[in-house]
């Protein structure tokens, strides 16, 4: 495993992979190769260079379809990231499928990008209501509340994250789908997979969901590229494009236009070609390591982290203890010390963590009752000595801010 940035910064202990992961050499080299030797626009030219770029771009789509076990590559829409993918559904699908009297349902643990699109869609449409499923005291989705809200509102959509970027909780998606099938079978389910795709195997067909959104940059790929997967029949029959431009039309007349087939219909404008190709390398990188290896590495680190954390009575964890239902993402606070100060002191120890609300203000305010936390998160390259450095930095925090 070669991550050039980490190799160059040997002293850096990067514990912010939930924000974005570093990029392996394969990905960096692949993007460089594209711009150096292969650059051309796609679906345009009949000259070799363009044909080749188109082929690489479409191969990326195929490999990503395999990666999430989609039925066909026509179900893979390239976007600029999770936010863009969710907003695509938030406009295009909402437009033709949500009407007066309908309800949109999400949860208290959502990232703003899987919360605001539904909140605002409900406001844009007349008399559409917006409901939020609660969490249990153990920071997990309250399945009883979910069942009650599904039953009561028969929502058009339930939008839920696969893994919480603040708590690290893995949601039981198959169980959620089973509940939905039982009490509100017409509800569509959208999964925010931003934190999941680099940590656990995702099989969209096995999960039984309708939409799945994720970002390249959180799975060792480049920024500015992401994916929306949706069932083909949903994309063809119930969604119209909402971004118009080149590459997405069949024919244009003064009075109206008709649309290209999937997936181009949703990819108006020149796409992020290098991004898609770089993402393909990231997928190959992950597949080469394999999820069983990724998970055993991660759970070894989680156990190690908790073993150390246990000896600090003044650190509060906001999330599940060690468990198969969590990943290596931990929100922590120290009473009397602001998360900014903790992050600053850690930074001076070359330990990079995130401090803030992590784009989950509802969760912070209504569930955790804190304004901010520090967040420690692991990636494929995280080592025990990164965790050691973190706790060494924490010693400095307690030296400067002694617990009272």
């Amino acid at each position: 495993m070669n991550f050039p940035l980490l190799k160059k910064n040997k002293k850096l202990h990067y514990l912010d992979s939930a924000a974005t992961t570093h990029k392996p050499k394969e990905v960096v080299d692949r993007i460089k190769k594209f711009y150096t030797h292969e650059n051309a626009n796609v679906h345009r030219g009949i000259y070799d260079l363009s044909e080749h770029a188109t082929q690489m771009y479409e191969e990326a789509r195929k490999s990503i379809a395999n990666f999430v076990h989609a039925k066909s590559e026509r179900e893979i829409i390239f976007t600029s990231g999770t936010t863009d993918s969710i907003n695509l559904v938030g406009y295009s699908w909402i437009w033709k499928n949500v009407f007066e009297g309908d309800t949109l349902l999400t949860s208290q643990m959502e990232h703003h990008s899987n919360f605001i699109p539904w909140q605002q869609a409900a406001k844009r449409k007349e008399h559409v209501s917006f409901e939020v499923v609660k969490l249990t005291d153990n920071y997990q989705l309250d399945l009883d509340d979910l069942e009650a809200k599904l039953k009561a509102h028969q929502p058009k959509l339930f939008a839920i994250t696969h893994i919480s970027n603040t708590l690290g909780t893995v949601n039981p998606i198959k169980e959620i789908v089973a509940i939905k099938e039982r009490v509100s079978p017409h509800t569509k389910i959208l999964i925010d997979g931003a934190q999941a795709v680099s940590h656990i195997l995702v099989d969209v067909q096995d999960l039984g969901v309708d939409f799945y959104a994720f970002s390249g940059h959180k799975m060792y790929g480049p920024t500015g590229i992401g994916v929306l997967w949706a069932r083909e029949e949903i994309l063809t029959d119930t969604m119209s494009p909402y971004r118009y431009g080149g590459g997405m039309i069949r024919s244009v007349n003064i009075s109206d236009s008709t649309w290209a087939d999937l997936p181009e219909k949703f990819e108006g404008g020149t796409p992020n070609i290098a991004g898609a190709i770089g993402l393909n390398s990231a997928v190959e990188f992950i597949e080469k390591i394999g999820f069983s290896q990724i998970q055993s590495h991660e759970h070894t680190l989680i156990d190690y982290f908790f073993k150390k954390l246990d000896s600090y009575e003044h650190i509060s964890l906001h999330g599940l203890k060690a468990s198969k239902e969590r990943i290596g993402v931990f929100s922590l606070t120290i009473p009397g010390v602001h998360p900014h100060d903790i992050a600053q002191i850690l930074s001076n120890n070359n330990v990079a963590v995130r401090a803030g609300h992590h784009c989950t203000q509802i969760l912070m305010r209504d569930v955790l009752n804190v304004v901010a936390t520090i967040r420690v998160s692991f990636g494929i390259y995280t080592k025990k000595n990164d965790i050691d450095a973190f706790f060494k930095g924490i010693e400095d925090v307690f030296r400067l801010f002694p617990p009272s």
């Binding site: 910064n9 900014h340 600053q344 304004v371």
Partner: protein
């Protein structure tokens, strides 16, 4: 490179030197102000720091000042120091103050995201005077 950038800032023990920790743990002029003529509240959206400044202006001079709020050590210490610094200054002087003056009396160089914490109290005071 990342580390070059990093080392332009003050070291941890400079940033958290005793004076700053003291102002954080025992902030000066903290609380409400009965005779306040001007007040304002500002928040640092990215991190939740929140400062309210109350001040009493007499003859275009700051005759009394206090602050309330929550925040990190840098934010609170900088607010506390500010209230000491501006007492009896003219409103014009305060309106023209920039981050440079804060940096002077804090005596540390901060990274861009921490500058927001240190700057908040002055911006709040200037807002109150508008």
């Amino acid at each position: 490179m990342y580390l070059d950038y990093f080392h332009r800032h003050s070291s941890m023990d400079q940033i958290y030197r005793q004076q700053i920790l003291d102002h954080y743990q025992n902030p000066q002029n903290f609380g409400a102000l009965e005779n306040a003529t001007h007040s304002a509240t500002l928040e640092n959206l990215s991190c939740g720091d929140k400062i309210t400044i109350h001040t009493c202006i007499e003859n275009d001079q700051i005759s009394d000042i206090s602050f309330e709020g929550e925040g990190c050590a840098i934010c609170i210490a900088s607010a506390s120091l500010l209230t000491e610094e501006v007492l009896s200054k003219s409103t014009d002087t305060v309106a023209n103050m920039t981050y440079d003056s804060i940096q002077d009396y804090l005596g540390i160089t901060l990274s861009p995201s921490r500058i927001k914490c240190a700057h908040l109290a002055l911006l709040t005071l200037q807002e109150a005077l508008k």
